[in-house]
Amino acid sequence: MAIINLKKKEVQAKIVYYGPGRGGKTTNIEYLYKKFRSRIRTEMVTIKTHGDRTLFFDFLPIEIGKIKGYDIRVQLYTVPGQVKYESTRRLVLRGVDGIVFVADSLAVRRKENVLSLKSLADNLASYKKSILQIPLVFQYNKRDLLEEGIPLLPVEWLEKDLNSKLKAPSLEASALKGPNVVQTMKKIIVMTIDSLRKDLT
C-alpha cells in the first residue's frame, strides 16, 4: 500500500514490473534509468546473479515533484522472473499499488506468459488484492523482433490469452530499443496516482 503522509503532504507509490523470466522487466527499468538519469537524479539499485539474472529485485525511485501540494514519489520495482523465486516475487509485491505486466512476445513463450499472469493473480490474492482492481498495464515486449523475422505472438493472441477478462490498457513495446517504454511507465504512474487520489482529498 502507498505511504501517504497527510501531515507532511508526501505520497510514495510502489509500482512493480511483473512477468516471465527474460521477458524484459529489468531492461525496461534500465532503459528508463540510462535515458533519464540526469533528470531522475536517483540511483538504480539492482542485485544480479553471476549469470546476469535478477536475484531479488531492481529498484528505481523517481521523484515526480509537487502536485496539488503533495510531494509525489514513485518506486519502480522488478521481480525475478525465474520460476524458482516465487517467494521473492511474492515479497516484492507486498504493498504494491500498480503493476506493469511485461509479456514476452516470443511465440515460444506463450505458456510462460499465462503462467506468470496466474502467479501474479495468486500472489496478489495472498495480500487480499484483486488483479481485477489493481491498476494494471500490459506491455507486449520484444515487438522489434518482428522486423528480424523472429516468430512472435500476434497481439490479438496476447490480448486473448492475457487481457480478455482484465481489459487493462496494453502497449506494444521494445524495452531494448525504447519504443513505448516511457509510455508504459507514464500510463501506470497516472493510473496508480489516480487510484490513490481519493486518499488525498
Binding site: 509525489i72 515460444v108 507514464k186 497516472v190
Partner: protein
C-alpha cells in the same frame, strides 16, 4: 461536477509533470545494418532467443539442428564454421546440464552469436577483422571452459556426461582450424533450485516465515556467487 473537474485537473497535472520529466529526445538516426529476415542465420537467432534457464531438450535439439543447417550453408567459410563449432560445443554442454550449467554459458553463447552475426552480415569486413573478432570469442569460450573445470575440481564431483568438442583455436592466418581435445565438463549447480512441493509449503506460511525462506534462498545464491567469484579470482591470479 466540481469534484470531476478537480479529478481531471489532478490527472492532467500528473501527466504534464511526467511529460516534462520524461520528454524523449528526437529519435536517433537508425544505424544502417543488414536485416536477418531472409538471412541463413534467421532461424538460428530465433532458436537462440528462445533459450532460457528453463532449458528443454527440444529447444537445445533445435539449436543443435539449426547449427548443422547453418554449417551446411557456410561449409566453405572456415571462420563462420569455427563460430558454429563454438556454439555447438556450448549448446551440447548446456543441453547436458540444463539449469545446472554454468550461468556464464548462456552469456557466452549470446556473445558468440552476436559476433557471428556481425561477421556474417557486415558486408566487406576484412578477413583480419573477422579473425580478430573470432579470437575474442574463442578466448571467452576458453575462460568459460576453465571456470567449469575449476569448479569441477573445487566440488570434486564426478564427470557425468560425454566430452564436448574442444574450443576451436584459430590461428591469425591464413584461416582458423579447430583443434579437438576431450575435456570433460561437469554440471555444477550454481543457484538454489526450488524443491518440488515448495509452492505448497509457501501457501501456508505466514509473511515472516515466507521472508525467512526467501532470505535463505538469497543466502544460498549469494554463497554460490561468492564461490564463482573466488574461482574467477583464483584463475586470474594463476594467469598472472
Amino acid at each position: 461536477m466540481a469534484q470531476q473537474r478537480d479529478e481531471d485537473s489532478f490527472r492532467s497535472q500528473v501527466e504534464d509533470r511526467l511529460d516534462h520529466l520524461f520528454q524523449e529526445d528526437a529519435p536517433e538516426a537508425a544505424e544502417e545494418q543488414v536485416g536477418v529476415v531472409e538471412h541463413p542465420l534467421k532461424n538460428l537467432k530465433a532458436v537462440l532467443l528462445s533459450i532460457d534457464w528453463e532449458i528443454t531438450d527440444s529447444t537445445m535439439d533445435g539449436l543443435l539442428n539449426e547449427i548443422k543447417n547453418v554449417e551446411y550453408v557456410y561449409s566453405e567459410d572456415k571462420i563462420i564454421l569455427t563460430f558454429l563449432q563454438l556454439l555447438g560445443s556450448m549448446g551440447r554442454y548446456v543441453k547436458a546440464n540444463k539449469g545446472g550449467a554454468h550461468p556464464e554459458a548462456t552469456r557466452v553463447i549470446n556473445s558468440v552469436y552476436e559476433a557471428l552475426e556481425k561477421v556474417a552480415m557486415t558486408q566487406g569486413m576484412p578477413r583480419p577483422e573477422k579473425e580478430r573478432i573470432l579470437l575474442e570469442e574463442v578466448a571467452k569460450f576458453k575462460r568459460l571452459k576453465e571456470q567449469v573445470v575449476l569448479r569441477k575440481a573445487e566440488k570434486k564431483e564426478p564427470a557425468v556426461f560425454e566430452s564436448s568438442p574442444a574450443p576451436p583455436t584459430p590461428s591469425p592466418a591464413p584461416a582458423p582450424e579447430p583443434e579437438r581435445s576431450s575435456v570433460k565438463e561437469v554440471p555444477v549447480p550454481e543457484e538454489p533450485r526450488a524443491e518440488p512441493g515448495a509452492e505448497a509449503r509457501f501457501s501456508g506460511m505466514s509473511p515472516h516465515e515466507a521472508f525467512a525462506y526467501a532470505l535463505e534462498e538469497i543466502k544460498e545464491v549469494i554463497r554460490a556467487e561468492f564461490r564463482a567469484l573466488r574461482a574467477e579470482i583464483k584463475l586470474w591470479r594463476e594467469s598472472k
